[in-house]
């Protein structure tokens, strides 16, 4: 039964399987544009390459995009399971005694409803809303009905955070946590938490697919994720989307009632989301060429150091980060920089949490566990295209998450307001408005 619910490369199959229940298809197909990868849907011709292949004796084309999951090439087809996928049911496996807020409860009911009817649902929850708990009742119901549940997340650290959390509330359920290098690779469990990449190994396996893409910045939503999700879930299944920042099209579909959605517009601590303020800082790139920073930014840095208040300082590019950190360190040693590929990332994050770093200059949102209480946030060069509406909302979402310190300062230093900045601010304000209307905020 190892093949059940899977699509694997022929080269990965060292075991016998039931021919009756599989279909063998080419993994790389020719199209008008060139090539397409059937496993990951890559059509970017720059991400195909060919080589003299010893296996087929030809110049063989392969997909570079999904190569970390094994090489899809012209001589390496996909073997897809078409037989039945077995199911196991549990009787009310949820062991959790926490309480949901009224907004969470409403969302939780909608999730149950969607799972029961194999429907789609968008859960639009602000950063810090407590969205994982919202899934518990729905997962419980699905597992009781013998359904297979998968939660897909764009990043490994999200999987690593979610899996133990779910294991502790569903102690009797067989689980798989799938990420690069995971022990559970290839497992078909009743409850699965997976990265996008690992999902590429599954085919029509899941009855409930939950996509968690909250806090994804700077990993912009990859079209591969939605493709992998569509292939991995059964044709009749429910699809629950969790996000803090749905894209423009989805937002408008929700407004027009074309897409089923439920919002959690307030945090569990019932205080409004802090709203960003804009501060014009002139042509900072030009200033920086003369090794100077805008005076309002210098002032912001000094103020935080004097008041000893911790802060994130977001910058748009790694190159700039690498220049500006040594510059700032001249004035104060308690300033550090970290970016997504930084090998010392873990140590620096830990030092920041311990309060050994005052200002952390960064290009990324860091692990989700990094909810440092009582911090401020500044975005420098907020007009740069990398700071999309979604990125800015997520960055602002770092502030005021703890009940003890529910407020904080969010500053966008810019050289000309952009649409994205305005939309991000409007987004946050409208969430607060809705929360007030629904009585979810104490003021």
């Amino acid at each position: 039964m190892y093949m059940a619910g899977k699509q694997l490369l022929k080269s990965e199959l060292s075991f016998p399987y039931d021919e009756k229940y599989v279909q063998v298809v080419e993994s790389i197909v020719k199209t008008k544009k060139g090539y397409r990868c059937v496993r990951c849907d890559n059509e970017d011709q720059q991400l195909f390459a060919s080589f003299p292949c010893a296996r087929c004796g030809r110049i063989c084309t392969y997909c570079r995009k999904c190569i970390m999951m094994g090489r899809c090439s012209e001589c390496n087809p996909l073997v897809i399971w078409t037989g039945p996928v077995p199911s196991t049911s549990f009787s009310s496996p949820l062991k959790w005694s926490g309480k949901l807020s009224p907004a969470q409860q409403l969302a939780s009911d909608e999730v149950c409803h969607a799972i029961d009817r194999n429907d789609s649902l968008l859960v639009w929850a602000v950063c810090g809303a407590g969205k994982t708990e919202v899934l518990f009742a729905g997962i419980n119901m699905a597992l009781s009905q013998g359904k297979r549940v998968c939660i897909a997340a764009p990043r490994t650290d999200v999987v690593l955070e979610l899996a133990p959390r779910l294991a502790s509330v569903f102690p009797s359920v067989d689980m798989a946590a799938l990420y690069g290098g995971s022990q559970d690779r290839g497992k078909l469990a009743s409850l699965t938490v997976s990265t996008t990449h690992q999902l590429l190994r599954y085919y029509r396996a899941f009855d409930v697919m939950i996509v968690d893409e909250v806090d994804a910045f700077p990993y912009s939503v990859d079209p591969m994720l939605s493709y992998a999700v569509e292939r991995a879930r059964k044709p009749t299944s429910s699809l629950i989307y969790l996000t803090a920042t749905p894209n423009e099209q989805w937002q408008s579909e929700v407004k027009r009632g074309k897409r089923k959605a439920v919002t959690i517009p307030a945090r569990y601590h019932r205080r409004p989301l802090p709203v960003p303020t804009f501060e014009w800082c002139g042509n900072w790139k030009k200033k920086w060429r003369h090794n100077r920073l805008p005076s309002c930014v210098v002032q912001w840095v000094n103020e935080h150091l004097e008041r000893n208040k911790q802060a994130f300082f977001f910058v748009p590019y790694i190159d700039f980060l690498q220049q500006v950190v040594p510059y700032l360190q001249q004035f104060h040693p308690h300033i550090e920089g970290v970016h997504a590929e930084d090998p010392k990332r873990k140590e620096k994050v830990l030092a920041f949490r311990r309060g050994q770093i005052s200002i952390l200059v960064t290009t990324t949102i860091l692990e989700r566990g990094v909810t440092v209480p009582n911090i401020d946030v500044a975005v420098f060069g907020a007009e740069q295209p990398i700071f999309t509406e979604s990125a800015l909302v997520q960055i602002a979402g770092r502030v005021g998450r703890s009940a003890q310190y529910p407020t904080g300062d969010i500053r966008f230093f810019h050289f000309g307001k952009t649409k994205a900045m305005l939309k991000a601010k409007r987004h946050i304000v409208s969430m607060n408005d809705e929360a007030r209307k629904r009585g979810l905020i104490d003021e």
Binding site: A49, A54, I67
Partner: protein, 222 residues
Amino acid sequence: MKCLICHDEWMPTMSFAMLLTLRQADVCCPRCRARFIRLEGNRCERCSRLIDQAVCEDCIAWEKRKSVLKQNVSVYMYNDWMKEVMNRFKFRGDYALIEAFRHDVRTVFSKHFSSDVCLVPIPLSPSRLAERGFNQAEAIASLLPLPMIFALRRIDDEKQSKKTRRERFTGRKFCITGENVAEKRIVIVDDIYTTGATVHEAAKLLYDAGARDISSFTLVRS
């Protein structure tokens, strides 16, 4: 353009010098490029190991054992980055990454060797070759415009369990294929030099088959 390694978009700046020499722009972005460390500075003259001695202890030991390998030249240092890139190139089989090494491989090679040498790539076992689809040593050798001789064959199966008792006992990895190497100047090519056991053994076999003046060239020195 898209960086060959991290797939990020970047803008190569065409310098006037590059236009004059028609040198190609780099295939990877400056950030990825900066993470490859070329072996420079104080090294063992025999094996390229970064060390303050002229000849390192390992090489003195090889000399005592009358090794016929004249010297080993390597291009890059083995750091975490190199490990990651090699993993993708070799084990995941992303052949296209070879292009990231082309320029440095050619430059370093021509600095140390004349153009009348023949290249002998370290072979893979047939099962490993079928699995991977290509031999990384041959891919590296193919960056150089020089003749290749497939003079060696693997006799161990690279997987311990499949070795016969005799092979395990003798510990031999290769045999000679019979391709003519007599009186030829040979540079053995491999991906990495660690203890050197592989290339020293290969050198001995080639010497016994009549080759003269045998050196080795590897992408990485660990």
